[in-house]
Amino acid sequence: MIDDDAKLMLAFKDGDRGAFDALFERYTPRLLNFLTRMVRDRARAEELTQDVFIRVYNAAARYEPRARFSTWVFGIAHNLALNDLDRAHRKRERPLDLVRNAEPRDPEPHADERVAAQQLALALESALAKLPERQRSAILLRSEQGLGYQEIGEVLGASVSGVKSLLHRARENLMTELKEIPE
């Protein structure tokens, strides 16, 4: 069964430019979030997000919906992120400005709750940054992007049981890091 996004991609393949624009709008925030946390560099993540869409655009003529569209797109993003990290030999473990500059999701939280939430977010960002790349990719694809184990396996080139194990280790590592935050 072809998912809605794959149908849009097929429409784009048939010349419907609006279908590409719809995919661009739908996937920009998702890819940007994923790539920002993968490469730990906001400006670079924007460039890589654009790289993904350039590849999607250029691949339209030969596109065949063999997997869910999201699986395909995040597969491209994952590979670009790994290449970027390899090429730059960068380890970006500093907390992202994303947390410091973020508006609270709860409109009027109490000041102490807000501080605690920000501390937790900073600690979590830092813990995510310390994860091995495949574990980080797996947990982001699951928790942030809502991909299923089968899909994550297709993105990472792993079996479903391999994904289960990767996620288990990622969560254990995150919990270990978070336990070190002072109460």
Partner: protein, 156 residues
């Protein structure tokens, strides 16, 4: 009571709704009797909520405009490359044939007793330009410079 190692890996899959019926039922039965695993499950749920509450990255205001400008640039470059390639292939062939003919003629003139020219002559005649033009990633400017140089040679 300690957390059962056997079930720990299943806890994540349980909250992700990725456990099949039998494994799910077995884990739920275990959770009813194991405080350690029940506590671990709560911690994992808390972690999931914290991950879901992380701030979202928003694209900058010029993100879409920059993308479309880049797409247009790349598209233009690709079209030009394709046009150049289509235009250049027959030209290159004719130039190569012309170069080969000239080399043969020169070989015969310089050495009228030798019926067959030295094959090296044919390669030497335009080897440098030919090798350069085989490069797929050759910069457009470089291609144009080579073409101009060829034109100059032809005029002379």
């Amino acid at each position: 009571m300690t957390t059962s190692r056997h079930y720990r890996e299943d806890l994540g899959a349980y909250i992700d709704l990725e456990l099949d019926g039998a494994a799910r039922a077995a884990l739920e039965a275990h959770l009813a009797t194991c405080d350690g695993c029940a506590r671990e499950l709560q911690l994992l749920r808390g972690l999931g909520e914290a991950l879901a509450a992380l701030p979202q990255a928003e694209p900058g205001p010029q993100f879409a405009a920059r993308f479309h400008a880049r797409l247009a640039r790349e598209g233009g470059r690709r079209d030009l490359r394709a046009r150049l390639r289509a235009w250049w292939s027959p030209l290159r062939l004719s130039l190569a044939l012309g170069g080969a003919a000239a080399a043969v003629a020169a070989a015969i003139l310089l050495n009228p007793t030798q019926a067959e020219p030295d094959p090296d002559w044919l390669i030497v005649a335009d080897a440098e330009s030919y090798e350069l033009l085989k490069e797929e990633d050759l910069d457009l400017l470089a291609v144009l410079e080579i073409l101009e140089a060829w034109d100059d040679t032809e005029e002379r």
